[in-house]
């Protein structure tokens, strides 16, 4: 373990794309004790990959050399093929039946499939990377597969857990780890294999800020003692900027767009990268100007926006009632949609996760629910959305908001919820019901029994507004993360609810999707829609929220 800080090779030789120097291939990657054991050289020559059944190449004509020990941040717009490249390097892209390859790709001088085990890959989703029930066993899994002897396995396990700073007993159940801890566990499992190439594929996308810090600090500590070559994909440059010495930007059309030291690339290409969705420090995404914040909330409905007004004449009885009610209310100032008093919320009956909550939701206002993990934020949001019954206390809907459905949202029919509350779940996949994007958008309007012409009109408008028109016939499950998020928001908007409830709407989103979402939500707020958002994203809170409800950490004894 006691290795000095490794000195990366001079940048000059590293930047020569497409250099053909087989002698440079480092083969000495067999593991000894200690993390690392020399870095592997990565070389792509005219490499490309096309997934089976797709017309377009995910990556094409890529010439790239990464020298042993280099630390690379791999950037590129959504769809530039970053994940494809990293999966290929890890040797998990699959065989000929999964897709078609062109050119050559090598890791440490051999095909990636033959280098398996020398390449460690950390993926995005913490849940799908835990294999076994106990922490120690899970870390040992990779070593077992590589045929490491039993004594050495446990030595490596201890070292790897130490390196990532996960200090729990080896018998600790993996199911009781937080997201950030699970990611560190997976990292430890990868490190125990002593890879000469360490790959991270958006390792922080599913984590809260604390989890992001945990994993970043762990990786920093690991890199200090390792000579492994390191490649990370991430939308948020800030996290990794100081841990890498090279930034490579893939061009969406194929090949490399920019390549060089982080400072140079981020300054020269910053604006361009930011426009393509990368979070570049110094190039924040545009923030909308809210026409009306809390003081004048509720006075600007509707402001002749073609998007919300389009087809407004036939918006259905509920919407009309609401509109009338709103007109009446706007004269009086603020109209209350929901009032919670002394509310206790629970996901499973009888097990309160938060108690004694009080809040009011008014038309045209944005409320951010923030706080540590496990504080009950999502549970509160789902309760406000009429999806979970309150455990104790009261949750009352205003008369105009309820529009005849009664004061208790949990008693509303599923169909009645559509025009009143729209809920966007944290995982978009949970709410998809159809096999096409177009069908997905039509689900709500159809449940409202709107005329077909009206449905088509709404669906077309939403497809265009959220840049989904080209994907209208695609299966929702095949979309990218950003596209799924946009679709899940669009499905909810199709029925024009008075209250939007969003659970972590900006988690793992690139800056372009972020800016679009925030702009869209600001517009809706200005038109009088109320917004409740569970979020860890302080930028989001700053950009939109009228008020912030900070939930305290879960009290002891409330388990």
């Amino acid at each position: 373990m006691a290795r000095g800080r490794s000195v990366p090779p001079p940048r000059g030789s590293a930047a020569v794309a497409g250099s053909s120097d087989p002698a440079g291939a480092v083969a000495g990657v067999a593991g000894g004790a200690g993390t690392g054991g020399g870095g592997a050289r990565v070389e792509a020559r005219g490499w490309g990959w096309r997934h089976a059944g797709r017309a377009a190449w995910a990556v094409s004509q890529l010439d790239l050399v990464i020298e042993p020990g280099e630390r690379v941040l791999l950037l590129g717009a959504s769809g530039a093929g970053k994940s494809t490249l990293i999966s290929a390097l890890a040797g998990v892209l699959g065989g000929d039946d999964e897709g078609e390859q062109s050119g050559e790709l090598s890791v440490g001088g051999v095909r990636p499939v033959d280098a398996r085990g020398r390449v460690g890959l950390l993926l995005q989703d913490p849940d799908s990377q835990v294999m076994l029930a106990r922490v120690g066993d899970d870390v040992a899994f990779g070593c077992e597969n590589l045929g490491v002897s039993r004594d050495e396995i446990w030595q490596r396990v201890a070292e790897a857990l130490d390196a990532v700073g996960l200090r729990v007993p080896l018998s600790h159940p993996t199911s009781e780890l937080s997201g950030g801890q699970k990611q560190r566990l997976a990292l430890a499992g990868v490190l125990a294999m002593q890879p000469s190439l360490l790959l991270l594929d958006e390792p922080t996308a599913n984590l809260d800020p604390e989890g992001v810090r945990e994993i970043r600090d762990s990786v920093a500590r690991v890199l200090e003692h390792s000579e492994a070559t390191f490649v990370v994909i991430e939308h948020r440059v800030e996290i990794w900027r100081h841990l890498v010495n090279r930034v490579v930007v893939l061009a969406p059309g194929g090949g490399v767009l920019a390549d060089g030291p982080p400072g140079d690339v981020l300054v020269e290409r910053g604006a361009e990268l930011a426009a393509s969705g990368v979070w570049v420090p110094g190039f924040p995404p545009a923030r909308p100007v809210r026409r009306a914040r809390l003081s004048s909330a509720g006075s600007g409905w509707p402001v002749g926006d073609d998007w919300s007004e389009g087809g407004g004449s036939a918006a259905g009885l509920d919407a009309d009632q609401q509109r009338a009610a709103h007109a009446a209310a706007s004269g009086l100032g603020v109209e209350r949609l929901l009032r919670a008093t002394d509310l206790s919320v629970a996901r499973v009956k009888g097990r309160a996760v938060a108690v004694g909550l009080a809040l009011e939701i008014e038309r045209g206002t944005a409320t951010a629910i923030t706080g540590p993990n496990g504080a009950g934020k999502s549970t509160l949001a789902l309760t406000l959305a009429g999806l979970l019954p309150p455990l104790a206390g009261r949750l009352e809907a205003g008369e105009a908001f309820a529009a005849g459905a009664g004061p208790s949202p949990i008693r509303w029919m599923s169909r009645q919820l559509l025009t009143r509350v729209g809920t966007v779940f944290q995982d978009p996949e949970h709410q998809f019901l159809s096999t096409t994007v177009r069908g997905e958008l039509a689900v709500g309007p159809r449940a409202l029994k709107l005329p077909q012409a009206e449905i088509d009109e709404r669906v077309d408008a939403l497809l265009a507004r959220l840049r989904l028109t080209a994907l209208a016939a695609a299966n929702p499950f095949t979309l990218s993360g950003g596209e799924k998020r946009r679709l899940s928001v669009a499905t909810v908007l199709a029925t024009r609810p008075s209250l939007l409830v969003l659970d972590e709407p900006t988690f793992g989103q690139d800056s372009r999707t972020w800016a679009e979402l925030v702009a869209l939500l600001a517009e809706l707020l200005d038109e009088g829609t109320a917004l409740v958002a569970v979020t860890h994203d302080t930028d989001f809170v700053d950009a939109l929220a009228d008020r912030e409800l900070r939930m305290p950490a879960r009290a002891e004894g409330l388990a």
């Binding site: 998990v92 993926l123 990377q129 039993r150 990868v190």
Partner: protein, 262 residues
């Protein structure tokens, strides 16, 4: 506590190789299904009852875990009383229902047998840790590690499915399709869960592959699955119970091979 982290204790039974527990349960069940008579079953049950004192479970745990067996046994007995093969004096008859001396005897034998097979099986399985079982299956029985470990990793997803199911339910209500018939909703939601679980499964498979699973290298095992004298003792005890039960039954003349006329 979940499926993957069952009750653990310091009791010696927890450290016995799960493969031996499987074998012991198999020996008992296999012997006891050969005959339907009340003697062999009750002898086995009495002996098992003594051995349960070393099962590592408290009385409360024992009855809670074996509750399904206590419910199933009388149910099987009642059915046998009503529909069992008629013999001897008839007490009651209606259509197919035929309550006789013979069906009463058969019912008693069934009741005892379900208990004698079910109770030890449950008791032995409760203290099995799936990880240890997988180790045993792969190292002691030499089953292919691909299946054993794939199954073990898949088992971990079960907990996630429960969460998924709940979320799917809420999402359906939120999307306006939660009012339809219960049965129809159940099936469409079940299909959605299937789609989600396949996606989760393939992600897990990728992660396992990335850790070198399924390569051509011969796998080593971090945990040794031992098979020593304690395992031998457990299996021997099971064999002894079976042997005594059969001996007593045969010597009292009540043993009857299943299928042979009584």
């Amino acid at each position: 506590m979940s499926i993957l982290t069952p009750t653990r204790g310091t009791h010696v039974v927890y450290s016995i190789n799960p493969v031996a527990k499987l074998a012991a349960a198999f020996v008992l069940s296999f012997t006891l299904v050969l005959s339907i008579d009340w003697v062999s079953a009750s002898v086995a049950l009495v002996l098992e009852g003594i051995l349960f004192l070393w099962a590592g479970l408290s009385a409360r745990q024992f009855f809670l875990r074996t509750l399904p067996v206590w419910v199933a046994a009388p149910a099987a007995a009642v059915t046998t009383v009503l529909y069992g093969r008629p013999a001897g004096a008839t007490y009651f008859q209606l259509y197919l229902i035929h309550v006789t001396d013979g069906s009463f005897e058969l019912a008693l034998a069934t009741l005892l047998r379900v208990l004698a097979i079910g109770l030890p099986a449950v008791v032995l399985f409760v203290t099995i840790d799936p990880t240890d079982l997988a180790d045993g299956l792969a190292q002691v029985l030499h089953l292919p590690s691909r299946f054993v470990l794939g199954g073990l990793a898949g088992l971990r997803l079960v907990g996630l499915f429960l969460d998924d199911w709940r979320s799917l339910q809420l999402a359906r209500r939120a999307r306006g399709v939660g009012d339809s018939g219960r049965i129809r909703r159940f099936f469409s939601q079940g299909f959605a869960l299937l789609v989600l679980s396949i996606r989760r499964g393939s992600k897990l498979a990728t992660a396992m592959e990335a850790r070198g699973f399924g390569s051509t290298i011969e796998r080593t095992y971090a945990r040794e699955s031992r098979f020593g004298w304690r395992e031998a003792v457990l299996i021997a005890l099971a064999a002894l119970v079976a042997l005594v039960a059969v001996t007593v039954s045969v010597s009292t003349g009540t043993w009857n091979f299943i299928g042979s006329a009584s």
